[in-house]
Subunit: 130 residues, 2 copies
Amino acid sequence: MARPPAPSANDPLRSRCPIAGALDLLGDRWTLLVVRDLVFYGKTRFADFLASPEGISTNILADRLDRLERRGLVERRRYQEHPPRDEYHPTARCRALRPVMRALIRWGQRHVPGTAQHPPRGLAAPPRRG
Amino acid sequence: MARPPAPSANDPLRSRCPIAGALDLLGDRWTLLVVRDLVFYGKTRFADFLASPEGISTNILADRLDRLERRGLVERRRYQEHPPRDEYHPTARCRALRPVMRALIRWGQRHVPGTAQHPPRGLAAPPRRG
């Protein structure tokens, strides 16, 4: 697997800690939900991400997909020319976030009241895609 | 272990997804670094968190410690009265985030160039505290 692009001069690492490095990309309320939709639910189209129950806004979604693409987690593919429409596919680097999401699922189920104890089909045993 | 406080009416769950529920608390660039310092480095005092290499600001640190306390991840203990000074200790709920942090470490080491491949002593085999 190719190494990901190095952080730009505008986006230096805060420290050499790999947790901090991961959070520089993933540390917000939305990015890992887009990754969840890509990896566990097989979503590829803008409207499908928008339809997720958390109600992500179009500008946040567009920003997160762009950042994920720039950091090599998402591959964009044109599926329609008139008007132009793209699909978004997770890369191996994106699918490698499954253990992070599984650990968050286990913690959330146990420690955040009101979350689903039995995730929908596909979340526990996600299909390989991309 | 007692159930954590339910989210308040001002802080409803965005969905029943446990990833979303976890990110409601943890989804920012700083919270898991404070948790790292509490759980892996055994830090307990405000100045010690401030001294971490990422350079967290005093207002963000105070906010994150307050939120962690409100959600039952941190226990505050007064250790000096004049002037008043508190220590912060991780609860079991906080220590239960170890698998999340370990998964982030593995992903960051592999996919974020420039991060340390061999974390300092204590991060790989953290002591039990609190």
